[in-house]
Symmetry: D2
Subunit: 284 residues, 4 copies
């Protein structure tokens, strides 16, 4: 049996849902999941659909072609079609903090994540031993102000050689360049250690402490050219009090960062996220 | 323009979604919302669909008939169809606590609720002045161990005279009879002041205090024959500590009860709840 | 029996706690609550202490004098001492939104709040009927760009005539002047409908919608000269999704605003808040 | 400098706080933290106090003796006194689930936990490789219905040989015996995968799914003779919906279990928990 996931968006028009569901039936598919959203401000239609095909000669490629010819032109759809056979390939970028790395790798090891991690890239050697413990290749690519372009070329080479589908910046403390972002649009997931848009930039826990907020948060978003301003995938928060020091905020924040980033990775790798106009539609 | 909401459930079979969406198109409707759920344990399909009809001669009754003839038999569907023209009518049962009553009536007054409240019934006169302040008829029907059946007949008479669609027990401190429950199946919304199934029955805040839990909750559910065991519509919780007295728990609980009951009322009156096998499906 | 609440802050020095507890014992008091906090960044000591005095000739005024003479000079303390006999007097400022007003007045009516509300001031007549329903004097003081100073003089006159202790801006849609703020420093409680410091200023729900956040919040803080930048007393948040319209955000936000403002009022009126350097210490 | 933490409880009597604070001053100590709680139902006083001593000839043992002689008899106190010099020693019991083990060991490795882990005990060999990766001794002690007493003797031998202070059952799927519990009263921390007291016993996620709750939880408590009925240290919850399968609940629950257990471990190892009458007092 083949399982296909379809994600589409287009201008909202009457008849889209019926046209798509009819198309699936005509292809002998059984719809097992359908969800849709209409952005009334922008008049945009979004849909996510999962369908199963039991015919033995089913081909994902043929299905894509037929879908494109039959429907996409008619409704001027933007579309993505995935087969459940192929797991997405995720590259992990880390630096010196180990909590998100440990969290992701232990989930990966437990079979919780529907993806492959061909390698880890870091600008420091500090966490190499963790990668080794989990048997994942670790590439040490140091970055300084003189070698940025060169370092990035090495990164790109690795990403392309392994057909990487998306990148996760697991507290990678470097700003990635527009070149990398433009090659992986809405495919670079960052974790920012604040409840965005509050406390953009460096040292958000210090800023939160100084402002005296009663709740802190973490935000996972796609990296865009503007720092910490990309489409938000997931956020979570936790209570703090006057009694908490900056160190306490950092410690509590680590738990938020781990959970929020892990949830964003799951949503992305399960193809449940659509991006439009710097906002996300998150299907359940 | 007519707006129709359709709720169906039936055994899960291939082709249901396509059949329903085709039917809507054939009736010249535009689907503006579709959501579905399959209960894999029980193999049951659930769907909620909103559709708009702009043809001037559209009739909700004719639509219902056609829907029934065309689809319901084929898939052995259980179905409900609502027109957005008619607001549901809700009867409020209260006793001595005023917090849920104030909360519901102030929301009602602000236009936040999509429903009508023809009257309030109480077994005490204590809250009559609040009903008066909001200009809602208030019926005082005292209940004691000798007049239960008689009191209930008066209640039923009022409910039927006003074509009440559903009942809300806003901290109504009496157990409603099976007679009433069987006349309004999955149409009597209760608020229980605990995180069910913990602390069933009377004085849940006292039990929570005694057990030393760190979180308390409130649960809104449909009344069924078995006490506090009906399908859960909505729950919420809040943190407590050893420093909180039983009075503190009761005070914090009041805020939970208000919010949870208000949310359950909104979900029910917006026809977003389906019940199957003592569990709810809550559409977004 | 007299119950006294003491709030102090001063530079952190050895021996403060022992000196204060000894002083209470010497005055024949029994300490029933003590909590303290040291701000290590600024080296400031904070304490809240409740003590009971059963001697029949106890006088709060004499106690204050003795406390001041014995301890305050020695440790250069800032101090406030309250008797549980006197309830704080709170003035309510409202405009056109009724949800916080209904919420506060129904809590007040239920005996949940340890305070008195001598009157309500509004720049619109719209909510007068609610004040009337709760039997609270309502003063309509219209404000426009030409009469601001004059309107404020009327407000100040009322505040002084009733010996008001603190002011609550329950979605009062006007910016209060520095004159008023300087007369009631850390005594004007505002509710801002966002998770500050995100979305300062007007229309925060619109900004939250536009940014695509997954969580919205509300913040209660003391009004200061700089808009929405005063010491934060309480915050709370709730989840939203792409499916929520701006109207949904506003409706969900109303529930947050009510709870957050009510909690801030309770903390302030129970003398559990201290302010230092634009941050609050909130005692339990 | 020596830092001492004192935990006491006794019948509530006037003058306790002053007596203790005076005692500290007389010993040339500086109180840096004091918190207290009075259980009004049972009339019991609880206090936690941290004090610093700079005199070079300070001895924790002498301090304990003097404290005992001077105060404990007078107020019939139950007391515990700890020096910050000694880290508590924690034994980890695991079975087949790895998520709590990974979580605890990665926190331990990052220096987040104020404790030592001399060894891990398991009734399965499955997780041995993880212990090895973190360089912690791993003892495989199989348990079956015929060797229970013998297995337990081996466990006790290890616990005593290493002077273990407390035990953490990190999803250890065996019921520990009363013998072990009585040797480590309020020193065996368990994580139960439900919001207790709901869903006691085996397979709580299955029960939660069947009941149709909208929120699931996890509870960390001290093991007592009665199963899942010991004093609760920490709880947390997360929202679920009808769309979540049992597998989803288990996956979401893993994240709850990790956080709740880690928080309970931190509270216990930082000596912030007191137990009285099967309830905990948790100091901040």
């Amino acid at each position: 049996m083949n399982k296909i996931t379809i994600l589409i968006n287009c201008k909202d028009l009457p008849g889209i849902i019926a046209s798509v569901t009819n198309f699936i039936v005509a292809q002998n598919g059984n719809i097992v999941y359908i969800d849709q959203h209409v952005d009334r401000e922008q008049d945009i239609f979004f849909m996510r659909l999962e369908s199963e095909f039991t015919n033995s000669n089913f081909s994902t490629e043929t299905f894509k072609e037929t879908f494109k010819d039959t429907l996409c032109g008619k409704f001027k759809m933007k579309w993505r079609i995935y087969s459940s056979e192929t797991k997405p390939k995720m590259a992990l970028f880390v630096s010196k903090y180990d909590h998100c790395l440990y969290d992701i790798l232990s989930r990966y090891n437990s079979g919780e994540l529907n993806l492959e991690i061909p390698f880890i890239i870091s600008n420091h050697e500090k966490l190499k031993y963790i990668a080794k413990g989990f048997n994942i290749p670790f590439y040490y690519i140091p970055v300084n102000k003189n070698n940025k372009a060169e370092a990035e070329d090495k990164q790109l080479e690795l990403l392309e050689a392994h057909n990487i589908d998306f990148i996760v910046l697991a507290r990678y403390m470097q700003i990635v360049s527009n070149k990398l972002i433009s090659k992986y649009p809405n495919k670079i997931i960052n974790i920012h250690h604040s409840f965005l848009p509050a406390f953009v930039g460096a040292k958000p826990y210090h800023s939160a402490y100084k402002r005296g907020v009663k709740i802190i948060g973490a935000t996972s978003h796609y990296a865009t050219e503007e720092l910490d301003a990309g489409p938000i995938i997931e956020q979570d928060v936790t209570r703090i009090s006057h009694a908490n020091s900056i160190e306490d905020l950092i410690a509590k924040g680590r738990d938020l960062e781990k959970i929020v980033l892990a949830n964003a990775i799951k949503l992305h790798s399960n193809r449940k996220v659509m991006v439009f106009n710097n906002k996300t539609v998150i299907f359940s």
